[in-house]
Amino acid sequence: MPETEVAAAELPEEVAGAIDELRRHYPTAEALLLPALHFAQKHWGGWLPEEAILAVAAELDLAPAKVLGVVTFYDLFHQSPIGRHRVRVCTNLSCALRGGQEILESVKRHLGVGENEVSADGRCSVAEFECLGACEQAPMMMVDDEYHPRLTPQSAAEILEGLD
């Protein structure tokens, strides 16, 4: 954690409530950490500011460093703001064989961003991703939670244009 003191935010009621719901299904509170971080990330607009990490740690009675260690281990937790839409382009083998790398380049060019950057209008953040488990739809990308199959640079651009 950086030097500056950040007060632990109160965990918003809906997040705390959702965690409480889960307690009886798990023998330890620690096991609620991944679900709690998912809830918190959703609440905080797709990323986990320090206050969120502290709040989750307090709720589950875990050391903040421990929570931070978990956050940094997993690809789906973010520690900096992301765009309104998260664009993930798969460049792993099955996608690469059908042009996945070219799709990534064209998406970055289209939005004028580099890897893991947010477009100037705050709309999209782009990331190269490992296999997303939809290799039969190669080359593919996910925008937020939706799959977009069998892309060409043109069709990928149209999808991006259609986002709010």
Binding site: P27, T28, E102, G133
Partner: protein, 434 residues
């Protein structure tokens, strides 16, 4: 080879996201009869039936499922758990996604039978974090099952109690390794544990735990309804039994999931999938997911089962077949896989952490035309140091493609070295062929 769809029988067609089969339709079609049958038997007899079927784990390692269940201690004061491994993340593999999307109750039924057999009252389905829609589909199906009395305090009025939860991962391939998965389930970084002890003795939360893959568990209802004998009659021989889902992707006309009795050949699979894309010639294929050794076209007639592939130094693994046509640069292809393993190494073991990254660096310089004459042998030495020296199978998974590139396709590396550049035509962006 005749291909009666068993696992996919309700999935009409293999690839598109479609409405999942609801509980009522599932039941109308004989669903949950396997669970009813199991509940009418002694738990130990259910385990024996699964053992007799010869069902081997469909997650990669191929360990007999019934034997695994048999390791769970019967007399213990601790709770027991089933963790269903739905953390499908291996490049080229998407069969579990399809099973969960289209027929979630088949999985729920398989999980319930396993829990009854081993005496577990809690089942966690650990699903990869990226599968958001699939997690929602499973949650809806689980709610249906609770409402219908298939789950809960009195499973199908048998007195057996079962709680089932979907637990989402958060994007880490290594959580597909069973002890990495347990760590992650417990709320930690998904770093694999030292084995032994094995999860059957000390698993989730320190208690006895069965971990089975989605496809493995989806087979179980069919073993119960049709019997072990039927199951073991399907396949190559008594060590390679049952129906199997093969994923095929890459340079192929109709990529997707295809169901065959275990032991289909690549030629047969390719025929079902419309052949190599654009009618080109086959250069190489990966028969069993990113960690399997690459094979050349001369092996396309081999039965793709656990043992036949092991004989030629490869493996069935997750049965994810990736097809590469004559224009493919294999150095580039393997470099991409090595990059994946380097990204996904959890970093605990030096041979894995350093070896995976070094592999991709050496392959990268060969591909750029900056390779050195000693590089092929260097790669062989490195993979020898990575093999069997790390805590889990990830280091060896990287060894599979890298070593096979040198052993089976050395001339291709030499060509790069001699030319001082990649000799293969650049592969253009995919264009619709239809």
């Amino acid at each position: 080879m005749a291909a009666e769809a068993i696992l996919l029988r309700r999935s009409h067609g293999a690839t598109a996201l479609q409405a999942p089969v609801p509980l009522e339709a599932y039941r109308g079609d004989g669903g949950y009869e396997g669970l009813e049958k199991a509940l009418s038997m002694e738990p130990g007899d259910v385990i024996e039936e699964v053992k007799a079927s010869g069902l081997r784990g469909r997650g990669g390692a191929g360990f007999p499922a019934g034997v695994k269940w048999g390791f769970i201690p019967k007399e213990t004061d601790q709770p027991k758990y089933l963790v269903c491994n739905a953390d499908e993340s291996e490049p080229g593999t998407f069969k579990d996604r399809l099973l969960m999307e289209t027929d979630p109750h088949q999985l729920i039924e398989g999980c319930a039978i396993c829990c009854y057999a081993v005496g577990a009252h809690i089942c966690y389905i650990y699903i990869r974090g990226e599968y958001v829609r699939q997690a929602e589909i499973l949650e809806t199906a689980i709610r249906e099952a609770y409402d219908a009395g298939v789950l809960g305090d009195n499973v199908l009025k048998s007195g057996f109690k079962l709680d089932m939860r979907v637990h989402r991962g958060a994007g880490a391939y290594i959580c597909g390794e069973e002890t990495g998965m347990l760590e992650s389930l417990e709320g930690k970084r998904g770093q694999p544990r030292v084995k032994p002890p094995f999860p059957a003795i000390i698993g989730a939360f320190g208690a006895p735990t069965v971990i089975n893959n989605v496809e493995t568990l989806c087979n179980v209802p069919h073993v119960m309804t049709r019997g072990a004998q039927w199951f073991s009659d399907v396949g190559t021989d008594e060590r390679n039994t049952g129906p199997k889902l093969y994923c095929i992707s890459g340079h192929v006309e109709r990529p997707g999931v295809y169901e065959f009795p275990i032991g289909v050949t690549l030629d047969e699979l390719l025929e079902a999938a419309g052949g190599v894309l654009g009618g080109k010639a086959l250069k190489a294929f990966i028969p069993g997911g990113a960690s399997a050794a690459l094979l050349g076209a001369e092996h396309s007639h081999l039965p793709m089962d656990f043992d036949s592939l092991a004989k030629v130094g490869s493996m069935l693994g997750s049965a994810a077949v990736v097809v590469m046509d004559e224009t493919t640069c294999l150095v580039r292809a393997v470099q991409r896989l090595a990059k994946f393993f380097a990204h996904e190494s959890c970093g605990q073991c030096t041979p894995c952490r350093e070896g995976t990254n070094w592999s991709q660096l050496v392959l990268g310089r060969i591909e750029r035309g900056e390779g050195r004459p000693e590089d092929p042998d260097l790669l062989l030495r490195m993979t020898a140091n990575m093999s069997g020296t790390a805590l889990c199978a990830l280091a060896d998974a990287c060894v599979g493609p890298v070593r096979s590139l040198v052993q089976n396709f050395r001339p291709e590396i030499e060509e790069h070295l001699a030319a001082g550049r990649c000799p293969h035509p650049y592969r253009p962006v995919f264009e619709e062929t239809a």
